[in-house]
């Protein structure tokens, strides 16, 4: 489902955020990506979304080779991916409802489905009563849950979640993690970037650890590796 072949990402400023990364994630896998601040996790996610183009190496997602993909095809891959951004990236002049509905409009879901699925998704993340609010009227955690709802509403093939519980309390965090696990059980590939040691250690999933842009460990049923 996801392949990175010898991928290096050097930003125009000169920072090498990822270095010779080789990763293969199969369809249906649940993977944690961990690593200290600035180790390249967000860069990893942004490369998979083709928000960034690597300076070197080959990336393949859902059968599309990013080195050869045509500009017009990029939306097609992205529609197979549900993404939770570290800084949420909600559309600030649209309500909670419209933010989630937007993901469905993009894939041209008929309106009658949108009207049913969006409230259902908002109920799952506990924001059913806030559908009319604008992002600026929400707490940090509430915004994060809208972002999660938006990523999940289309039932995508792949979920990329960058620190999806950074602004959530333990109870909410666990609910989201369980939700992701359920979705994964139904066949969706899930990649979660997180700093939450407790969750990583408890869930016993594959854990990829980055350090200064290098994969220093990639273990099935692994745990959170503290830096020395």
């Amino acid at each position: 489902m996801i392949t990175m072949d010898n991928v290096t990402m050097k930003y125009p400023t000169g920072t090498v955020a990822l270095k010779d990364v080789n990763i293969k994630i199969n369809k249906g896998e649940f993977v944690f990506v961990v690593g200290s601040s600035g180790s390249g996790k967000t860069t990893f996610i942004e490369l998979l979304l083709k928000e960034l183009t690597p300076t070197k190496g080959k990336i393949e997602v859902a059968g599309y080779n990013y080195n050869k993909i045509r500009r017009r095809q990029i939306p097609k891959v992205r529609r197979k991916i549900g993404v939770v951004f570290q800084n949420f990236r909600l559309l600030k002049d649209r309500t909670v409802y419209e933010n989630v509905a937007f993901a469905q409009r993009v894939i041209e879901t008929p309106s009658r489905y949108i009207r049913r699925q969006v409230p259902a998704m908002l109920t799952i993340v506990g924001l059913a009563d806030r559908y009319k609010s604008y992002p600026r009227e929400l707490s940090g955690g509430e915004q994060q849950r809208v972002a999660i709802a938006r990523a999940l509403v289309n039932k995508p093939d792949i979920i990329l979640a960058d620190e999806p519980t950074g602004n959530l309390d333990p109870k909410n965090s666990w609910e989201i993690m369980n939700l992701l696990e359920d979705i994964n059980a139904k066949g969706t590939t899930v990649v979660v970037v997180t700093h939450n040691k407790e969750i990583v250690n408890a869930m016993k999933k594959r854990v990829i650890t980055l350090k200064k842009g290098v994969v220093i460990s990639d273990v099935e049923k692994g745990g959170y590796i503290d830096e020395d």
Binding site: L49, E51, P75, K76, V77, R78, R79, I81, V83, R89, L90, L91, K92, D93, F102, A103, R105, V106, I107, E108, P110, S111, R150
Partner: protein
């Protein structure tokens, strides 16, 4: 592209206008200002041209004949020329009466003193006005070339002054209208660009979620066209009522002005103004949003 997506784009475009009210108002304000300026200036120029026209018509050429001239033939040769606007025959008697009226305090007495001996006996003439005074010198040469014409009298100085003024105003107003259009296009696309650039983060987010360029862009285009439409309708209405008001004011108070030239009818002015104004407003709204979004769609 489903029907529902098109419908969505339309609604979203209208919503955007409300949600980015500051920018919408700024854009509309800019368009209104520019096109209002354009309209006012255009109205002034059109009227000025019409005023120049009536000034030109006060400039006439007098043609005097040889004693044996065939006046009928000359008249036919001259009045059929297309440069000619008005054409009158003034007999020697009329000329003498006019001259004596102009010159003497008691013209009858003077005329009686001269008796039948009309001092201007040879002064029968044609009085001609031209459609375009700048052609006067050339036309005078044509007249002088006709057999039977003894003398052509014209005030080349006044004609030159007026026609050069005309030329100057023509160039100047063409220049200003051109600059105005250029400036309007620049200012309007400036505001459109800023309005969209401010939302480039939003555009990026939409693209990252998987929206096609068309899907992102359509609401912006609707927005641009609607803003352009509003922005060009307002100055049209403003110019219409302002012109009407000025006309009424001038006709009422400055009768001196209206005695001498006719204001151009509102209908004639708007025949040109409406399409041009709408084309600029809506055109830039449309093209501006297409061009500016393009830049931000490469995500």
């Amino acid at each position: 592209m489903r029907i529902s997506s098109i419908w969505y784009s339309f609604r979203q475009g209208l919503k955007n206008i409300r949600r980015n009210l500051l920018f919408s108002l700024a854009s509309i304000g800019t368009i209104v200002s520019c096109l209002f300026l354009f309209g006012v200036f255009y109205v002034v120029v059109v009227n000025f041209k019409s005023a120049m026209k009536s000034l030109e018509n006060s400039i006439s050429i007098s043609v005097f004949f040889e004693e044996d001239a065939d006046i009928e033939l000359l008249s036919a040769q001259i009045r059929t020329r297309e440069e000619v606007d008005t054409f009158d025959y003034i007999s020697a008697e009329e000329a003498w009466i006019k001259y004596s009226n102009d010159t003497y305090d008691n013209p009858e007495e003077a005329r009686a003193a001269f008796g039948d001996d009309n001092p201007l006996a040879k002064s029968a003439s044609f009085s001609i006005t031209l459609k375009d005074v700048s052609k006067q010198a050339e036309f005078v040469r044509f007249l002088e070339g006709l057999t039977g014409v003894r003398k052509v009298k014209s005030s080349q100085f006044t004609a030159d002054t007026i026609s050069s003024l005309n030329l100057f105003v023509g160039y100047a107003s063409l220049g200003i209208i051109f600059i105005l259009l250029l400036v309007s296009v620049f200012l309007i696309s400036n505001t459109v660009t800023i309005g969209i650039t401010v939302r480039k983060e939003e555009i990026k987010i939409m693209k990252l979620i998987g929206a096609t360029n068309f899907f992102v862009r359509a609401p912006f285009i609707v927005e641009g066209v609607v803003i352009g439409l509003i922005g060009s309708a307002i100055p049209l209405v403003l110019v219409y009522y302002a012109y009407d008001a000025v006309l009424n004011y001038v006709v009422g108070r400055l009768s001196l002005v209206t005695k001498l030239f006719e204001f151009v009818a509102i209908g004639d002015v708007f025949k040109f103004l409406i399409p041009v104004t709408l084309a600029i407003g809506v055109g830039i709204g449309f093209l501006g949003s297409i061009i500016t979004t393009r830049k931000h769609l490469r995500v």
